[in-house]
Symmetry: C2
Subunit: 568 residues, 2 copies
């Protein structure tokens, strides 16, 4: 059969493999010198003050004693007896996750050929129900430098009850795990802290790995950004850059683009520096300036009117997906409506629950509430119906508002269109307003990791091994100085308890890792303020192109990190 | 100031330029041997029968005499006196357009240093109103291998009245153009044919260049695909491949993705081979099999039910944007409603026009029409409201239905959800059905051209010069054997009149270039039929990754072309 050249050619064209995938597998991620020699040695890093809240000291008495650690080369190399380590991927996938596993695996095998790495399947519930596979060299080689979390799958289960914690202890005990590596965002690292505290009894140390494309897991001075952020931003920047190219060619569309990233605007800020759009909204700025939704609409419309006067009826607009949360008047209504829905549902039967009522009845019910003021009604009725309906969306099981389900870009687009019609009636706007709207999220989350994230994930895996081999637990692995070449990165173990604060969840205060928002005093935002007027008026589009993996164009790091590293 | 290293670094980070752009500019597109030596010599290519309709012979008596031409190397090199050539970009942007201009410019300058190339601005209206720039070597070097049409801009104006044609003659006469190159799709090449016929008097020859990402401008045996198709497909394939990666990691979403591409399903077919989604709809197949919308819904739902039984509540689904046109029952309603709207609007005032009526009145009006049968009502009322409203959308100025404005992916998603609810009630479906929907179009259209399209566009520019230098007019430039390496490509001049047929436009028959749909008898579709059950059941995802420009992964050509070139 193999002798039929047509058939051979067809099989090659129909196979799952590509030259590109083969190429990516052959890339050996770079290690920073402090990790290259193996497990290394941990040493407290002085001079950084990390305060721990009293409530954290109470809930996490053991791991709260952790001191910041740095990792130096040439530590105790071969463990006396082989270690068995577990790893779990948690939350949404982020590019570079497979390289965390690869780094952990290679570091473990480098230290002792009989060291084992166990991968839990489909997220934390894989620990709870003990669903796992042993990770092999072939698996690592197959997934090296590829995107997604599909080597093990992922999930969102939290280990947040005594029963689940007990099951985890049983699994880790039965598997005789010396260590467990939890790859995840703020909630997963919160989990890691509690696991570390609770798994002392069975001798399992726990290390968290900072993952999230949203970029909101940061520790000022120690952790600039989690892994995955750069790759997702570059994927979004490719798409937005292509929209720049399209609108500059076709000269007739305004592109309203919403970007994934939860509440913080880190992604939108980075993508703005990558692409130079005509308008960029930053949630944290809107909050600080206490802008109303109508002033946000006007801010967009003013750019559209000014460009129309210059004969430019086209442009690109970036909108972070969590923007509504930062608009005070909208947020007040969200909170009040959440309260009203919860109160109503407590007494209503399943069939009569709030979300089964017709829209008019829902509005009536809200109107009748004691906490609903005339002013609230006026604000609510002034919103377009798309936003009104958005505000009434079913809350999640924690009572939280589902921001990502609201088509914020279409709401703003409609409101801008309405405003422009009024300006046109007054003779103040004479342009044409044709639009397209876009939402980029899942596609960027699933991209192949950039070289930066390939190296970053791999070094994080090595760092986790190093921390475990040196007896650490209740730490998050990190690399300092990510804006510099890999050769200058410095591995750290950051204690988890100082990162925690109290936050309202499901109606009560919980100890969780604090999310970091965009720092309006840092150089990146200051420089955005300086540049954006120029971007608004002219066509200063930047076209980053598709992510490259060979040649000089492959050597990129987030622009915001580089700007912020320059200081004021 | 330049001595402040911080400032210098900031300026570099804030500039529009990137290492990537610089790299792309440095790529010198490859030329096929028949073009490398210069203008070359044209010769009739025998053995291919190209029939011309009588109506085309009547309307285009001069250019209808054209014979198919091939281009051989070493023709008459330096023209006696320098030529001035015009070029215009027409319709939506397509990656590779700047390389057409670069090829034309370099070929012209190679033949005679005083040859000039004039670029008309913002599409055909640039000819009508004589808005132009002289193209320089610096401009060409700046835009070489970049995406979009922003060197000159583009537009959709047609030269379809005696007055516009007269103005074009005046412009070409005043500029003393020996030749005019029209870069565009089927309509633009139709324009090129009429321009060729009409500009004989002022000595301007006209050559069309086959451009459109949709891929529907083809000449069986002579032109496999227009330029731009491959790049757009690869950009979409990156995005869909990333969705594959995301859903295979997160294991919980069905991604419904609509792809640009007008009525034909060429893009969806190519992207399917690039990514191996779980479901792929092909409009031409739906038409041939006379599938109803409910059977299309069931076709999707059956895959979802089968995968749920195997524990897989995730997957990817590709939907060509023009799919509704191929569903007979929907198309019948579209045509009837278009007729009813047009009839009503003829007697209604501006304020009372159909689209200002409330939805209920619109439906009432349709119901009262003589051409509306009870059966039509039943079909219409069986559709979800999103589709009902979609069918009533305002028609364009030609009375055409605006397919691209209908969120077909959301309509199908809603109908699938409804169907699955019924299956669940019967106990036949026990899965979870969480979804995300996507539309990719403008982003892919604006991408950087792949190496394939960089070379293809450049060779087309050279071919156009060669045809002009040899006195040809009323031809489309083409390259044969695009599935082979550039060294084996063979430049052609394809006469435009044989490509034309009669088509209803604005209610009357017009002579236009025929669009090519997916050939259901060609190997690509046959192999899709063979593979898709496997893709539906298993996870045979292919991850093409971002478009690469260096190394072996950069050497790609459309898979459908390669499959079709293998014959049955």
């Amino acid at each position: 059969m193999a002798s039929d050249p047509r058939q051979t050619k067809i099989e090659a064209l129909l196979g799952n493999e590509t030259t590109f995938r083969a190429q990516r597998r052959s890339y050996q991620p770079h290690l920073c010198p402090r990790l290259a020699a193996g497990a290394g040695l941990t040493r407290p890093l002085e001079g950084v003050d990390l305060e721990v809240l009293r409530v954290a000291r109470e809930q996490l008495p053991f791991v709260s004693k952790n001191k910041l650690l740095e990792i130096l080369p040439n530590g105790p190399s071969r463990p006396v007896k082989p270690l068995r380590l577990g790893v779990v991927l948690s939350g949404g996938p982020a590019p570079g996750g497979h390289n965390v596993i690869a780094g952990l695996f290679h570091a473990a095998k480098q230290a002792h050929p009989d060291n084992q790495v166990i991968g839990f399947l489909a997220g934390p519930k894989g620990i709870i129900t003990d669903k796992h596979v042993e990770i092999t060299g072939d698996m690592v080689a197959h997934y090296l430098n590829s995107g997604g979390f599909h080597m093990l799958g992922t999930g969102r289960d939290k280990i947040d009850t005594p029963d689940k914690m007990k099951k985890c202890r049983e699994t880790c005990g039965a598997l005789q795990l010396s260590g467990l590596v939890v790859v995840g965002g703020d909630d997963s690292n919160t989990n890691a802290a509690f696991l570390a505290e609770n798994l002392r009894g069975c001798g399992t140390q726990v290390i968290g790995i900072p993952k999230t494309i949203d970029g909101d897991l940061q520790v000022p001075g120690l952790l600039q950004i989690p892994f995955g952020f750069h790759s997702a931003c570059m994927a979004f920047a490719t798409e937005v850059g292509n929209l720049n190219s399209d609108c500059k060619s076709d000269l007739k569309y305004w592109h309203f683009t919403r970007l994934m990233g939860r509440s913080a605007s880190h992604i939108a800020l980075e993508v703005a520096f990558q692409t130079h759009p005509n308008v960029i909204l930053i949630g944290e700025e809107i909050e600080e300036k206490e802008l109303t939704i109508h002033s946000v609409v006007r801010l967009i419309a003013d750019v559209i009117v000014a460009r129309a006067q210059a004969g430019k009826n086209y442009g690109t607009i970036l909108i972070p997906e969590g923007i509504l949360e930062f608009i005070h008047e909208v947020n007040v209504l969200i909170i009040k409506i959440s309260y009203i829905i919860a109160a109503y549902n407590r007494t209503a039967s399943e069939e009569e629950s709030f979300h089964k009522l017709p829209f008019e009845d829902q509005v009536q019910l809200i109107d009748n509430s004691d906490i609903w003021r005339d002013y609230d009604s006026r604000v609510f009725l002034g919103f377009p119906s798309l936003l009104q309906k958005g505000l009434l969306l079913p809350r999640d099981s924690h009572g939280n508002f589902p921001f990502s389900l609201v088509n914020t870009e279409r709401i703003l687009l409609e409101m801008v269109a309405t405003y422009l019609r009024k300006q046109r009636a007054k003779g103040l706007y004479k342009g044409t307003f044709k639009t397209q709207n876009h939402y980029y999220g899942y596609d960027g989350r699933g991209t192949f990791p950039t070289k930066f994230d390939c190296d970053y994930g791999y070094n994080l895996g090595y760092t986790a091994y190093s921390l475990l081999a040196n007896g650490a637990t209740g730490y998050m692995a990190a690399l300092q100085d990510l804006h510099l070449p890999v050769a200058d990165w410095r591995p750290l173990g950051i204690p988890l308890p100082p990162l925690m604060h109290l936050e309202e969840r499901r109606g009560r205060l919980e100890l969780v890792i604090a999310k970091q928002k965009v720092d309006l005093d840092a150089p990146a935002f200051k420089l955005l303020e300086q540049e954006r007027q120029k971007w608004a008026e002219g066509d200063h589009y930047r076209f980053p192109g598709p992510i490259q993996f060979d040649g000089p164009a492959a050597a990129t790091a987030p622009i915001t990190l580089q700007l912020n590293s320059l200081g004021q």
